[in-house]
C-alpha cells in the first residue's frame, strides 16, 4: 500500500441498507443508506444512544452490518474487509493512544506497520506534528501531555496512514468547554486542509455546524435529515430535528386556525416584536437578557413561553406588554 493509491481527497463512501442489531435484539441502527462524495465532511449529529457510534463502526469495519447491508469505498464492496485492511483513520473519543509509545511513535505506528522505512517515516511524522503544532512534544510519553494535545496526536496518527476515510467519534467530548470551543475551530481548519473524506460524530450542534459540509441528524437508529448546516437549521425535516438543532420555540396548534392538532416551531430571530396594538397577538415580557448585539426576551403568550430577539438598543423590560408576529416563511408546522 503506497501513496499513489490514494487521491488527495480520500475515497467516496456508500452505505447500502446497513443496519445493526445487537445480540439481545437491540436495533442500534435501522437499515440505512448514505452516500458521501470524496473529500466531503459529514457530521453525524444526534442525542446519546441514537446510533452514531454504531454507524461509524460499521464504516470502520469494527463490526459487521446485519445481513443484507453493505459498505462501499469508491464503489468497491468492503463489507467483509477487516478494519486493518480498510485504511480508515480513526480518532476515538478517548483517543486510544498507546501508553507504551511516545507521541512520535504513536503517530508513526501506522507507517511502521506498513513497513515504511524509518527515514521517510520520521520525515512524515515530523511534518504531521508540525501541522498539528506538536513538534516540540515528539519524544514525550503520551500520558504526559494535555487532553487537547492528545486529541491532536490522535488526529495526526489517524491522518498519517493517508486514510481513505477519516472517522472521528466525538473527538472533542473529553475536553472542557473552553478548550472544546477553541479546538472545534482548529479541527475544522485542519480537516479542510487535509481535504479528506471524513465522518465526524458529535452530539453538539454548534460543533456540527462548524465542521460539517453536510449534517446527518440521527434519532433512534435512523438518519432523519441529511443536508447542509443551513438546510438543517432553516428547514428542519421534522419535529425532532426542529427541536434538536438550535434554540426553537414551539407552540401547540390551537393558536393556528385551520391546522388541526399541530405544533408550530420558529426560531427566536423569526419573531418580530412591536408595540401592543389591537388585532395582534399580545404577550407579556417575563425576562430580558442583554447579549451585547441583541436582547433575548422571554415572552408569555397565553401561558406559553416564547423566546424572541430584539436589537440591543430597544429598551424592553420585564413587565412590558408587546405584540408579536412570526415571519410565516420561517414558521414550521408539524402535525403532532
Amino acid at each position: 500500500m503506497t501513496a499513489e493509491e490514494t487521491t488527495a481527497h480520500g475515497a467516496s463512501l456508500s452505505i447500502r441498507r446497513a443496519g445493526k442489531t445487537f445480540p439481545g435484539g437491540v436495533v442500534a441502527l435501522a437499515p440505512t443508506d448514505l452516500d458521501l462524495p470524496a473529500g466531503e465532511i459529514l457530521v453525524l449529529l444526534g442525542p446519546s444512544g441514537c446510533g452514531k457510534t454504531t454507524l461509524l463502526r460499521l464504516v470502520a469495519g469494527l463490526g459487521a452490518p446485519d445481513p443484507g447491508g453493505a459498505v462501499l469505498f469508491d464503489g468497491v464492496d468492503v463489507t467483509t474487509v477487516p478494519i486493518e485492511r480498510r485504511r480508515v483513520g480513526m480518532v476515538f473519543q478517548s483517543y486510544a493512544l498507546f501508553p507504551n509509545m511516545t507521541v512520535a511513535e504513536n503517530v508513526g505506528y501506522g507507517l511502521k506497520v506498513r513497513g515504511e522505512p524509518k527515514s521517510s517515516r520520521d520525515a512524515e511524522v515530523g511534518r504531521l506534528l508540525d501541522m498539528v503544532g506538536l513538534a516540540e512534544l515528539s519524544d514525550r510519553p503520551v500520558d504526559r501531555i494535555s487532553g487537547g494535545q492528545r486529541q491532536r496526536v490522535a488526529l495526526a496518527r489517524a491522518i498519517a496512514i493517508r486514510p481513505k476515510i477519516l472517522l472521528l467519534d466525538e473527538p472533542l467530548s473529553a475536553l472542557d468547554a473552553a478548550l472544546r470551543e477553541k479546538l472545534r475551530i482548529e479541527l475544522a481548519r485542519l480537516l479542510r486542509r487535509f481535504a479528506i473524506t471524513a465522518i465526524h460524530v458529535t452530539h453538539d450542534q454548534a460543533e456540527a455546524m462548524a465542521i460539517g459540509d453536510r449534517i446527518a441528524v440521527m434519532n433512534q437508529g435512523r438518519i432523519v435529515q441529511l443536508g447542509t448546516p443551513e438546510d438543517v437549521y432553516v428547514r428542519p425535516a421534522d419535529r425532532f430535528v426542529a427541536g434538536f438543532v438550535g434554540v426553537m420555540n414551539r407552540l401547540p396548534g390551537r393558536l393556528l386556525p385551520g391546522c388541526g392538532v399541530a405544533e408550530a416551531f420558529f426560531r427566536p430571530e423569526a419573531v418580530a416584536v412591536g408595540p401592543p396594538e389591537a388585532g395582534s397577538v399580545v404577550a407579556m415580557v417575563t425576562a430580558a437578557t442583554f447579549f451585547g448585539a441583541y436582547r433575548r426576551l422571554t415572552l408569555d403568550v397565553a401561558g406559553h413561553a416564547v423566546e424572541a430577539e430584539v436589537p440591543a438598543e430597544r429598551p424592553v423590560r420585564p413587565g412590558d406588554a408587546v405584540s408579536l408576529a412570526v415571519d410565516p416563511a420561517r414558521l414550521h408546522v408539524f402535525p403532532t
Binding site: 470502520a60 469494527l62 486493518e84 493512544l97 498507546f98 506498513r114 500520558d143 501531555i145 492528545r150 496512514i161
Partner: protein
C-alpha cells in the same frame, strides 16, 4: 489508649514474633558452631560450605527448573490470558475455571494423576522435565490471572481497535500493543511463578527421582537426616533465594497499579 486496642496491638506483636522468631533461630543456628551450646561457641560459615558440598546440585536444579517453568508459563500463559480476556463470556470463564483447577486440587493428587498417566514413560519419569510439567501446571493459573488482571485494568479493546485502524494485524497488535502494556502483570506473574516453583514441595516430592532432587526436596531430606546446623544453614540458603523474590513481588504489586490508557 483503649484496652481493646492495647490487646489487639499485643496480639499483633505476638503473632509477628511467632512468625519471625523461628526463622531467626534457624538463621542463627545455620551460622553457629553449635546450636545446642549456643552462640558462645562462636559463628562459622562451615555449615553453609557443607550445604554447598552436599546439596549444590539441588539448588542449581531448582533454579533451572524455576527458569524453565517461567519460560513455559510465559509462552503458553500470556497468549492464553489475552485470548481469555478477548473472548470473554461464558466459554472463556469455563476455560479459565479449568486452567485454574490446579489451585483447587492438592498437589499430591495432581502428582499422583501425573505419575499414573505418564510414570510409564521412562525418559520423562526420570528427567527434570517431569517436575517442570508439574510446576507449570501449578503456576500457570498465577501467570494467567496476573496478566488477565492488567489487561482488564486498561481498555485493551480500545487500544486494540486503535492499532487495528492503523493497519496492524492481530498478531502485530498482540506484540506491539498488548505485551508492552501488560508488562506489569507479566512481571508480577513471572516473579510469582519463580517464587512458587523454587518453593514447591507437594508435587515435587512425588515427581522427583534420586537424580532429580530440588531444593525443597533436599530440605526435607536434611530435616530428616542431617544435624540441625546443616538443616538450618540449608534453610538460610533458601531464605536468601526466596526473600528477594518476595520483596520484588511486593514492590511490583505496588508500582504495577492499574495504568490508565492515554
Amino acid at each position: 489508649m483503649r484496652l481493646s486496642t492495647l490487646a489487639a496491638g499485643l496480639l499483633t506483636v505476638l503473632v509477628a514474633a511467632f512468625l519471625v522468631v523461628p526463622a531467626l533461630v534457624s538463621i542463627v543456628a545455620g551460622v553457629s558452631v553449635s546450636y545446642s551450646r549456643g552462640l558462645s561457641e562462636g559463628l562459622t560459615l562451615d555449615w553453609i560450605f557443607e550445604v554447598w558440598r552436599l546439596y549444590a546440585d539441588t539448588i542449581l536444579r531448582s533454579i533451572m527448573i524455576a527458569l524453565a517453568t517461567l519460560v513455559v508459563t510465559l509462552l503458553i500463559g500470556v497468549p492464553a490470558a489475552y485470548a481469555l480476556v478477548r473472548r470473554g463470556g461464558r466459554l472463556a470463564r469455563i476455560a479459565e475455571e479449568i486452567v485454574t483447577l490446579p489451585l483447587a486440587i492438592p498437589g499430591l493428587a495432581l502428582a499422583l494423576a501425573l505419575i499414573i498417566t505418564y510414570g510409564g514413560v521412562r525418559e520423562l519419569r526420570v528427567s527434570s522435565a517431569f517436575i517442570v510439567i508439574g510446576h507449570v501446571l501449578y503456576t500457570l493459573p498465577f501467570m494467567i490471572r496476573s496478566v488477565m488482571a492488567v489487561l482488564q485494568s486498561f481498555d485493551w479493546r480500545l487500544l486494540d481497535d486503535g492499532a487495528a485502524s492503523l493497519g496492524a494485524s492481530p498478531w502485530r497488535r498482540f506484540v506491539d500493543i498488548m505485551l508492552p502494556n501488560a508488562r506489569p502483570g507479566i512481571l508480577a506473574g513471572a516473579l510469582t511463578v519463580v517464587t512458587l516453583s523454587i518453593g514447591e514441595f507437594n508435587l515435587t516430592w512425588m515427581l522427583h527421582t534420586p537424580l532429580t532432587k530440588t531444593l525443597p526436596v533436599g530440605l526435607a531430606d536434611s530435616y530428616a537426616s542431617m544435624r540441625l546446623e546443616i538443616a538450618s544453614a540449608y534453610t538460610l540458603v533458601f531464605f536468601v533465594m526466596i526473600v528477594p523474590l518476595l520483596v520484588a513481588m511486593q514492590a511490583v504489586a505496588r508500582i504495577g497499579e492499574p495504568r490508565r490508557t492515554a
